[in-house]
Subunit: 141 residues, 2 copies
DNA sequence: CGTTAATTGATCGCACACGATACATTCACG
DNA sequence: CGTGAATGTATCGTGTGCGATCAATTAACG
């Protein structure tokens, strides 16, 4: 059962992150969203949704909790007030410095070589793309 | 970011299962639990938890929902009344026949060869084991 | 210019998942 | 035997995720 191996490994990964993220006051999905903003700041909700493959019904409360922590700011786009722009606050930017060591700790725990890690990541990305493409076909056909 | 690739692929897998599980009236975690019972019937909650890596606070409502659907039966062990034994009902056993085609459909969607699928599964199992082992060490140390 | 269609977020309800805790049952020890 | 520790399950609160739906804003069309 590949499906269970994937489900199980994802849970194990989330639990491995937990002790590292707790001191930062972040949950795992919150960390992923912050990571997206650390790569590129000032994105709209739709843009973040496209990257994380999450809908507004998941993102809206997620973003609101990060706002409540003072890590990000939410404001409407002046040009198109339908769009919500999400930006890092000074605290949110500062947290990046503390968070940089997190992925290194995880990489150590996985015990994977650089090559193995890169290959696994590529395999998973391809798998995800295939599964989503199959889903799209089905919706069309 | 391996962590996101894993997170994302697991979500894609869950979404790929959805259209196949909807006709069966099962969610993805419910399907995984049923699969465990289809492999070995009449297990205690703790045994199921060890296989799925889930706690009682997740399993109890999950099992109750499957009981509400009439797929399983919950009853206390006669010898040790602390333990809850979970058994398939006739309907639960019958559902197995309808569910056998599900993993084949998914395997087709992944586009993975037998060898690639086996290797990926092994890699994920090893990764899960490493991450959980690292977590145990930390708890001890 | 005004009505309609499309886009964007937000809201609601349901189902996990987990930490912390409570409770009942059984076991171990004196 | 009786009492406290250990075991097994259930409950509570928080935080995702998603389907369905709604409101607000903008764009498109006659």
């Amino acid at each position: 059962m590949l499906c269970f191996a994937l489900y199980d490994a994802a849970h194990a990964m989330q639990q491995a992150y937990k002790p590292l993220l707790d001191p930062l006051g972040l949950t795992y999905p919150q960390y992923l969203l912050m990571s997206a903003l650390w790569v590129r700041d000032d994105q709209t909700l739709t843009e973040l949704g496209r990257q994380l493959h999450l809908e507004s019904n998941t993102l809206t409360p997620l973003v609101k909790r990060l706002e409540a922590k003072g890590l990000i700011a939410r404001e409407r786009d002046r040009a198109d007030e339908r769009q919500l722009r999400v930006r890092l606050t000074r605290e949110g930017q500062a947290l990046h410095a503390e968070a940089v060591r997190v992925p290194r700790c995880i990489r150590a725990e996985t015990g994977l070589s650089d090559a193995a890690l890169t290959e696994l990541r590529a395999t998973l990305q391809a798998l995800q793309a295939r599964l989503r493409a199959a889903g799209m076909d089905e919706a069309v056909g």
